[in-house]
C-alpha cells in the first residue's frame, strides 16, 4: 500500500524572480509534480501535462559503471542491452511497445542506467506492464546474452576502436584515476571482459542492483496523478526485492604531481587532452565550475575559441567541459592542433589562458552571459516531455525533485570570486593528467 503522505504539489505559474531592468535575469515556468514512495521503496514522481496526447515513463536505476568489479567491466552497459531480451512473462520488450504505438531507448554512464519510453497516453498500462515485468525478473536467455555480447563488442569497435581519436577515453581515464572506478569507461576496459561475461555474472548483477528501492520512476504527460500512483502500486507493488546498499566507492587519493602519457595513432592531426580533478555533481562548488567551463569554451563568445582558435590559430577546435559525475569528477580541456603547430606552442598558449582565469576574476559581462545561457538551456530542455521526466528523476536522485525548479538559483548566486577560487584549485599542474595523442604520419 502506498502512503499518500508525501504528496508535494507546486502549481504551474510564472515566477518573476529577481527581474531587473538591466536584463540580467530571466524567468522560468515551474514544473509541477507529485511524488510518493511505494512500500517497497520505489520512488514515483508524476508530472501532469494535458496539452500533449503522449505519456512517458522514465526509470532511473542507481547503478552504473562505477559499481562494476575491476576485472568485469562493461557490465552495467551490457546489462542495459539485456534488459530488452525478454522478461519473466514477456518474451520480448520492444514488440508490445511498438504495437502500442510507443518508442523507447536507454543509456548507461558511470553513475546510472536510465530507461525511457514514450507512447500514446491511453496505452499507459502497456508501459507499466513492460517496465514492472522486467524489474521483477529478466528471462535470462543464453541466446540473448550471446547476441548482445556481440552487439556490444561491435559497439566497442564502432565507437572506440574504428574511429579516429576514438580510444582517448580509454587512455585518459586510467591516467587520471588510479583507485576510483571512474578509471574505466562505461563500455568497459577491454573487449575480453565483455567476451567473458557469463549468465551467472549477469543474474547476480540483476538481482543485486535492479531493485525497486534502488530506482526512481517518473511518469509524465497526459496522465492523472492519483491514477498513476494506483497503477504503480498495482504493477510494481509485489516486487519485494530489496537493495542492500553496502557500496563503498574507494576514494581517489589527492593527486600530488602531474601525469603524462604520449601515444601515436593513425590520425591526421595531433591532439591534446588535459584532465583535472574537480567536484562532483552534488557538491556546492559544481555550479561555479560549470560556469567556469562555459566562460572558457561555450559558444563563439568564449575565451578559448576566440584566443586559441581564431586569434592565435593554434587549435582547429577546442573544448573544455566537466564530467558532471556523481563522485568527484574531472574537468577536461581538449583540442586538435593546427598542422605545423608544436605541442609545446599549443600547451604554452593553453596554460596562459588557464593562468588568466586562475588570477583575474571573470568580467560582469562574462558572468551574466554564462548565467543567462544556463537558464536559457534549462527552459529549452523543458519543452520536450521526456526531457522533463528525465530531469525530475535526476533531481530526485540528487536529493530533491524540486531542484528542477530551484537549481537555477544556485547558478544565479555564483560570484566571480568563487569562479576564480575554483580555477585556482582545479588548474594546478599537480592536479593534471595530460595525454599527448600524436599523429603517426
Amino acid at each position: 500500500m502506498y502512503d499518500s503522505g508525501d504528496l508535494f504539489l507546486v502549481s504551474s505559474r510564472l515566477c518573476f524572480s529577481q527581474f531587473r531592468t538591466n536584463c540580467k535575469y530571466s524567468y522560468s515556468i515551474l514544473i509541477a509534480f507529485s511524488k510518493t514512495k511505494l512500500s517497497n521503496g520505489l520512488t514515483v514522481i508524476v508530472h501532469e501535462d494535458n496539452s500533449t496526447p503522449l505519456a512517458t515513463i522514465n526509470i532511473l536505476y542507481k547503478v552504473g559503471a562505477r559499481d562494476e568489479d575491476p576485472d568485469k567491466t562493461g557490465f552495467a552497459h551490457l546489462f542495459e542491452h539485456l534488459m530488452f531480451g525478454g522478461s519473466l512473462h514477456i518474451p520480448e520488450y520492444d514488440a508490445p511497445l511498438q504495437l502500442a504505438g510507443g518508442d523507447n531507448n536507454a543509456f548507461t554512464n558511470n553513475d546510472v542506467t536510465n530507461y525511457y519510453l514514450t507512447l500514446p497516453a491511453q496505452n499507459l498500462s502497456t508501459g507499466f506492464w513492460l517496465e514492472s515485468d522486467r524489474m521483477m525478473s529478466l528471462a535470462f536467455s543464453p541466446k540473448s546474452l550471446d547476441v548482445q555480447r556481440q552487439v556490444v563488442i561491435e559497439e566497442f569497435k564502432q565507437r572506440y576502436l574504428n574511429q579516429p581519436y576514438g580510444d582517448v577515453g580509454l587512455l585518459l581515464r586510467p591516467l587520471a584515476y588510479k583507485v576510483h572506478p571512474y578509471q574505466w569507461s562505461t563500455i568497459g576496459k577491454e573487449i575480453s571482459h565483455i567476451e567473458n561475461a557469463s549468465l551467472e555474472d549477469v543474474k547476480n548483477f540483476f538481482f543485486r542492483y535492479y531493485c525497486p528501492d534502488n530506482a526512481i520512476m517518473c511518469v509524465a504527460g497526459n496522465v492523472e496523478s492519483a491514477e498513476v500512483f494506483k497503477m504503480a502500486e498495482e504493477w510494481f507493488g509485489e516486487i519485494k526485492r530489496s537493495f542492500k546498499d553496502d557500496r563503498k566507492y574507494p576514494v581517489e587519493p589527492r593527486q600530488t604531481e602531474k601525469r603524462e602519457l604520449t601515444v601515436e595513432r593513425n590520425i591526421p592531426y595531433d591532439s591534446l587532452y588535459r584532465s583535472y580533478h574537480s567536484s562532483s555533481r552534488f557538491d556546492k562548488e559544481y555550479y561555479a565550475e560549470d560556469l567556469m567551463t562555459d566562460v572558457l569554451s561555450a559558444g563563439k563568445s568564449s575565451r578559448l575559441y576566440n584566443i586559441l582558435v581564431k586569434e592565435k590559430k593554434l587549435f582547429s577546435e577546442i573544448n573544455c567541459y566537466g564530467s558532471g559525475s556523481f563522485d568527484k569528477g574531472t574537468i577536461t580541456a581538449e583540442g586538435k592542433l593546427v598542422k605545423g603547430v608544436t605541442m609545446n606552442q599549443a600547451e604554452e598558449a593553453l596554460d596562459e589562458e588557464l593562468k588568466k582565469i586562475m588570477s583575474t576574476p571573470v568580467t560582469d559581462e562574462e558572468l551574466t552571459r554564462v548565467k543567462n545561457k544556463i537558464e536559457s538551456t534549462m527552459v529549452f530542455s523543458e519543452i520536450d516531455l521526456s526531457g522533463r521526466a528525465l530531469n525530475l528523476a535526476f533531481a530526485e536522485y540528487m536529493g530533491d525533485a524540486n531542484l528542477v525548479n530551484t537549481e537555477v538559483e544556485r547558478y544565479r548566486e555564483v560570484t566571480a570570486d568563487e569562479i576564480t577560487g575554483r580555477a585556482k584549485e582545479i588548474f594546478r599542474e599537480s592536479n593534471c593528467s595530460t595525454l599527448h595523442y600524436l599523429s603517426k604520419k
Binding site: C23, G101, G237
Partner: protein, 430 residues
C-alpha cells in the same frame, strides 16, 4: 487485492489513436513583403525563428560558395567583429545557428521571448551587412580542411558522402563530394557578391514558433520588415537530373578497418509522389524502427552490428532510399548477403498481418510525437511548405498508413526494391 486486477501473462488491452488533429500554421507578412508563418503553441516563453533561403543553382566550379556564405555571415560586419556579434547574442542566453541542407540555407535564432528585441537586431545585421573578413575566411578554410581530413578517416562518413555521389552523380549538388582544395577556391569578393545578391528580402521565408504573441510579430516586423533589405531578381532554382554512376557495386578499401560501412540504395522520388507514403510503410518494415527486419536479423539475431537501418528521404529535386550500417569487417560479406535476403523477401513473401499492424501502430504513434510541441508543429509546416503541398498531405499520409494492405506492400517492394536497381557501396575491408 490489487494483484487480481492485473495480468502479467497477457498484454493490457490497446486503445487505438483516434485523434490526429494538430494546430496549423498562421500567416502574415512583413512590411517589406517577407512571408511569416507562425505557430503560437506551448507554455514556455521561448521563440525559435528561422529565416530560410532556398539554395541557388549549384556550380561545381564553386561548390562550397553558398554553404560557406551561410556559415561565414556571422564572422563580421562593417560594425562588429565575429566575437562581438557572438557576445551580443550569447549575453542574453540566446543561440544562433546557421544550417545548410541540400535545398536551403537557414539562419536560426533560439531565444527567450524576453530577449527577442535585443537579439534579433544582431541577426538583421548579419544578414544585411556581412563583410566576410579575410582573416576569418582563412581560419575557416584551414580548420575545415582539417575537419574534412578527420571525417575522411571515418568509414561511416566516407560511405555516406560517397554514396550520394554514386546515386546522384558527381556534378549534382546532392552528390558532390567535397575535396580539401574546394576550400581554397573560396574568395572574399565572390562571397560578398553572392551574399549581396542572395540574402535579399524576396528570397526569404520566415517560420517562427513558440510563444508567438502579437508583440513578437510586431518586434519581428520592426527589425526585419524594413526596406533596408535589398530585393533580388527572385530567380528560382531549376531541378537538375540525377546522373548515377554506371557501376552498381562499389568498394573503397580502408587499411586496418575493423569495421566496414555499408550503404545500399537508389535515387527515388520525393513526397509529392503518390507512392511516397506507402513506401514509408514498406521502409519502416524493412529498417525504419527497432523491430525491423534488418535489425532483427543483422543485429538481434546475428550480432554483426551495433545498428542497422533504412530510410526514404525526400528532397526538393527528388529523393532517395538507403540502408546503412557499420559491421565487423570479418562479417561484411555475410551482412551483405543477409541484407539482400531481407530485401528480396519483401517481394516474394507477404508480410504477416500482425507484423504489418505493428508497423502501422508504431508509425501512428511516431506521428503523434511529431506533432507534439511548438517546434515540431513548425517543422510539420516546413515539411509541406517547401513542396507547395497543403495540410491534406498529412491526412493522406495517415490514411495510407492505416489502410495499406499486405498485397500493396508486396507490390511496392516488387516495383521499387529490385536488387538489380540498387547501388551498393562498402567502405572498409571485405
Amino acid at each position: 487485492m490489487a494483484q487480481e486486477l492485473i495480468s502479467r501473462n497477457i498484454p493490457p488491452a490497446l486503445k487505438s489513436i483516434t485523434d490526429f488533429s494538430f494546430r496549423h500554421i498562421e500567416r502574415t507578412m512583413l512590411d517589406n513583403g517577407i512571408p511569416v508563418y507562425f505557430m503560437n503553441a506551448g507554455v514556455q516563453e521561448v521563440i525559435k525563428l528561422e529565416l530560410i533561403f532556398r539554395n541557388p543553382t549549384f556550380n561545381p566550379a564553386q561548390p562550397l560558395l553558398y554553404n560557406a556564405a551561410n556559415r561565414l555571415m556571422s564572422e563580421g560586419t562593417s560594425k562588429h567583429s565575429a566575437q562581438q556579434l557572438a557576445e551580443m547574442v550569447d549575453y542574453f542566453g540566446a543561440y544562433y545557428e546557421t544550417e545548410q541542407s541540400t535545398d536551403n540555407c537557414s539562419v536560426v535564432l533560439h531565444t527567450l521571448n524576453k530577449h527577442l528585441a535585443s537579439t534579433l537586431p544582431v541577426i538583421h545585421e548579419i544578414i544585411t551587412d556581412a563583410s566576410f573578413p579575410e582573416k576569418e575566411l582563412s581560419v575557416y578554410k584551414q580548420n575545415n580542411k582539417q575537419r574534412l581530413a578527420v571525417e575522411n578517416e571515418k568509414v561511416g562518413s566516407v560511405a555516406r558522402r560517397k554514396f550520394s555521389e554514386i546515386i546522384f552523380g558527381p556534378q549534382h549538388s546532392y552528390g558532390y563530394f567535397t575535396q580539401p582544395a574546394d576550400y581554397d577556391k573560396l574568395e572574399q569578393a565572390a562571397l560578398k557578391s553572392f551574399h549581396r545578391s542572395h540574402y535579399v528580402s524576396n528570397h526569404c521565408t520566415i517560420i517562427v514558433s513558440g510563444s508567438v504573441t502579437v508583440d513578437v510579430i510586431r518586434t519581428i516586423n520592426n527589425i526585419l520588415g524594413k526596406q533596408d533589405w535589398m530585393k533580388g531578381n527572385g530567380a528560382s532554382t531549376p531541378s537538375l537530373k540525377f546522373e548515377p554512376v554506371s557501376q552498381k557495386i562499389n568498394y573503397i578499401e580502408k587499411e586496418n578497418a575493423i569495421q566496414s560501412a555499408i550503404r545500399i540504395g537508389k535515387p527515388m522520388f520525393n513526397k509529392t509522389h503518390p507512392d511516397y507514403a506507402g513506401l514509408q510503410v514498406l521502409n519502416t518494415l524493412l529498417g525504419g524502427y527497432f523491430g525491423s527486419r534488418l535489425m532483427k536479423n543483422i543485429r538481434e539475431d546475428k550480432g554483426y552490428t551495433y545498428g542497422i537501418g533504412s530510410a526514404v528521404v525526400s528532397m526538393i529535386q527528388g529523393g532517395y532510399f538507403f540502408i546503412a550500417s557499420e559491421v565487423g569487417s570479418d562479417v561484411s560479406s555475410n551482412a551483405l548477403e543477409e541484407i539482400y535476403k531481407e530485401i528480396g523477401l519483401l517481394s516474394t513473401e507477404a508480410v504477416p498481418g500482425d507484423e504489418l499492424q505493428m508497423v502501422k501502430n508504431y508509425m501512428l504513434g511516431s506521428f503523434l510525437k511529431s506533432i507534439d510541441g511548438p517546434f515540431n508543429l513548425g517543422d510539420r509546416w516546413k515539411g509541406i511548405m517547401l513542396y507547395d503541398l497543403g495540410y491534406d498531405y498529412y491526412d493522406r499520409y495517415i490514411n495510407t498508413v492505416k489502410s495499406i494492405t499486405v498485397d500493396e506492400i508486396m507490390q511496392l517492394a516488387q516495383k521499387y526494391f529490385q536488387k538489380d536497381s540498387l547501388y551498393e557501396l562498402v567502405v572498409g575491408k571485405k
